[in-house]
């Protein structure tokens, strides 16, 4: 079942484990699916020059981000034989240990989901205009750059 209408990706604040569990449960009626792969990005309490990241405040150039997410989804559906694809990313504050990105792909066979999930994560990190302000325990900050 292709699920290709434009969907909203952004969620205000962290992505909860209950939301992820519910999302998994919704796929139990889709009995052609044999394999799911889920990627979760979690905010790390990185230490830089003795200061520890307490949270990341995410912002985005949303107009372009929505267009880019849609293009990445379409490209992934064209490249891989997927049954379903769901992408969520946080905006606003996400504390260390909380989840800021949730990507969920499903297919009849496992090979497709492995390739698709890595493709999606790399494309999103490279192409979607999302910015992260790392806020330290002393309230100073620096801007995160994807490596």
């Amino acid at each position: 079942m292709k699920d290709r209408k434009p969907k909203s990706v952004f969620i205000e604040g962290p992505i909860s484990s209950e939301f992820i569990g519910d999302s998994i449960a919704k796929h139990q009626s889709k009995t052609t699916i044999g394999a799911h792969n889920i990627f979760l990005g979690q905010v790390r309490a990185d230490t830089l020059e003795g200061k520890t990241v307490k949270m990341i405040n995410y912002s985005s150039y949303e107009e372009m981000a929505n267009v880019t997410f849609h293009e990445i989804r379409e490209a992934a559906f064209a490249k891989f034989d997927l049954s379903c694809m769901h992408i969520y990313h946080s905006l606003g504050g996400v504390k260390a240990g909380e989840i800021c990105m949730f990507i969920f792909v499903s297919a009849t066979r496992r090979k497709e989901v492995f390739q698709a999930i890595e493709y999606l994560v790399n494309e999103i990190k490279e192409k979607v205009p999302i910015f992260g302000k790392e806020i330290f325990e002393d309230t100073s900050h620096q801007w995160k750059v994807n490596s």
Partner: protein, 77 residues
């Protein structure tokens, strides 16, 4: 023409604004950037990309829209 220039993240901090109207009479993004560097010298040494019509474009691109967006390095995921 009167362009809207938008700044995100670290760039917005550097120029101390998120958006401005900017009068500009030349053609290319390269020329626009020269004008912006003159107004905000710290911008010249910074790492960013430029978007027009929701696409990243090379600096030699001719300006066709009314909104130009300056984007610092991405940090999604």
């Amino acid at each position: 023409m009167n362009l809207t220039i938008k700044y995100y993240g670290l760039l917005a901090e550097a120029v101390q604004r998120q958006e401005e109207l900017f009068w500009f009479s030349q053609d290319s993004i390269e020329e626009l950037l020269e004008a912006l560097y003159a107004k905000y010298p710290p911008l010249e040494g910074m790492d960013f990309q430029v978007a027009q019509n929701n696409k990243i474009v090379p600096t030699e691109t001719i300006i066709t829209g009314t909104e130009i967006v300056l984007l610092p390095p991405f940090a999604g995921g």
